[in-house]
């Protein structure tokens, strides 16, 4: 926006110079003619004087010389005058150019100031939004957790003290109250975790994904005899990612796979990878209940679930958190599945710009 202004000013300057130069040529020509005429006039006068009276040759020469000198002086005077005029014109042009440049600079400064003001305003709005969000998170975790806790606590006390006085239907209602409060609590915790994932600073380090998936699986399975699933873990490429966040990704994908394959005759979980041009794709496959591909796009949305919470428990934010983490790393998530045949969840991570030798891979 500013550049054309400067260019226009420069162009104007150039045309100005050209005009000045052309007119000065014509002026010089005029001076020559005038000087010549003056000289001729002097010679003619001298000749007339010589012819009319008897004056010595010396006097004549003197008169002639004086005439030519006068003519020359007149010529020089004219030239000097022209030169001064030209210089003044050039100075004026330069001055104009400087003024234009200054005006352009002032415009740039004004625009910069405007831009800075706008950035400051937006930053302030953004900070306001962030602190509002933090206040919201805070009040969710304090003020909403407490009454839900009270519901759960009283339900537990009721169960303990009055169980014998309730008929089966009453006990069932009580159980439903507890289950609802627990699921609200878990959704709230999930939502908090989801929002935390969006704000948390990321520290990218080499992460040994093979080790990570193994460790997380063993942790999930530890002490839980109902988990009969076997893990078929291939050699995975080292990721360039936030170690803590990768642990969350692995935990969510593996616990999903374990959960949905639990009722199979022989639950099987496979973790593998695929090398693409500029990224590595990791996938987790299970032979569980699977899902209808028509709903694949819903899987990674918050609180979207394809199974009722009675069928499979969970807060409904696990995959949304995975999606958010992977997207923050510049990768993509996808899901493939078939009802009753299992599901495959994939995520891609951009490969590290330069493999570094100095640091070994870190586990999560």
């Amino acid at each position: 926006m500013v550049r054309p202004v400067i260019r226009a000013a420069q162009e104007g300057q150039e045309t100005g110079n050209g005009t000045i130069r052309a007119s000065s040529h014509f002026a010089d020509l005029g001076i020559w003619i005038r000087s010549l005429l003056l000289g001729l006039a002097a010679v003619a006068t001298s000749v007339a004087i010589w012819m009319s009276s008897e004056i010595s040759t010396y006097a004549l020469e003197l008169a002639l010389t004086a005439s030519f000198l006068l003519a020359g002086l007149a010529f020089l005077g004219q030239v000097a005058h022209r030169r001064a005029q030209n210089l003044a014109e050039a100075n004026r042009a330069q001055l104009r150019q400087i003024e234009e440049r200054e005006a352009a600079e002032a415009e740039i400064h004004r625009l910069n100031r405007e831009l800075e003001a706008r950035v400051a305003e937006r930053t302030e709005n953004l900070n306001e939004a962030i602190s509002e969000l933090e206040a919201f998170n805070y009040s969710v975790s304090h003020d909403l957790r407490s009454p839900l806790g009270a519901i759960l606590n009283y339900a537990a006390l009721l169960e303990e003290d009055y169980r014998s006085r309730l008929d089966p239907s009453g006990r069932e209602f009580l159980e439903r109250i507890s289950a609802s409060a627990r699921s609200a609590l878990s959704m709230m915790d999930g939502l908090l975790a989801f929002s935390r994932m969006g704000r948390e600073q990321m520290k990218l380090v080499p992460v040994d994904m093979t080790r990570l998936f193994r460790v997380v699986f063993d942790e999930l399975a530890a002490g839980k005899t109902w988990i009969r699933a076997e893990l078929d873990l291939g050699q995975l490429p080292v990721a360039h990612a936030d170690a803590a966040m990768m642990r969350i990704v692995a935990t969510n994908l593996l616990s999903n796979a374990i959960k949905f394959a639990a009722d199979r005759e022989q639950p099987r979980i496979e973790v593998g990878s695929q090398r693409a041009e500029e990224e590595d794709v990791y996938w987790v496959r299970d032979n569980g209940v699977g899902f209808d591909m028509r709903f694949a796009s819903k899987l990674f949305a918050v609180f979207e679930r394809l199974h009722s919470s009675e069928e499979f428990e969970g807060s409904g934010v696990g995959l949304a958190i995975v999606g958010r983490i992977v997207r923050r790393h510049g990768g993509r998530v996808s899901a493939e599945g078939e009802l009753g045949e299992g599901a495959t969840f994939s995520f891609s991570l951009p490969r590290a710009p330069e493999p570094r030798e100095d640091r070994g891979p870190s586990d999560a």
């Binding site: 805070y138 304090h142 957790r145 806790g149 009270a150 606590n153 537990a156 006390l157």
Partner: protein, 146 residues
């Protein structure tokens, strides 16, 4: 007047009810005193005048204080600050209990001198169990280190 071994500073009646229930399960209910806000807690632990002039603060200190963060009037952090500023209660074991486990709450609690931070859990079958277990841990720790 000697103080109880376990002090629970908590304003939520539901949380108090399940805590007492859990302490009873562990036969600790005789050793527990419940204070409903920070003001009461400071009076109990530092004496009515806060200077210990009325002799009430001469009794033995509790083995552990469970301190809720969000309370009317004087909140948990304020109590913690005052306890740590007083020579008599500088080393008194204080376990902060909170519904939230926000990183800022945890950090601030430890910065002010909490010995531990426990998020309130709402266990279905044995509510308040986390408090009773924490109490046993601190009583045991006190016994073995003295």
């Amino acid at each position: 007047m000697p103080r109880k071994k376990i002090v629970l500073v908590e304003d939520s009646p539901a949380d108090v009810a399940v805590a007492l229930r859990a302490f009873r399960r562990h036969h600790l209910d005789d050793h527990v005193v419940v204070l409903r806000d920070g003001e009461q807690a400071l009076d109990y632990l530092l004496g009515g005048e806060r200077g210990g002039a009325n002799g009430e603060s001469d009794g033995e200190l509790p083995k552990v204080v469970f301190l809720d963060l969000k309370m009317p009037k004087v909140d948990g952090w304020e109590v913690l600050r005052e306890l740590r500023a007083d020579d008599r209660t500088r080393d008194l074991p204080v376990v902060v209990i909170s519904a939230s486990d926000q990183a800022t709450d945890v950090r601030e609690s430890y910065r002010l001198g909490a010995n531990s931070f426990v998020q309130k859990r709402f266990e279905g079958t044995s509510p308040g169990e986390f408090l009773a277990e924490a109490a046993r841990y601190w009583l045991e720790l006190n016994r073995t280190t003295r």
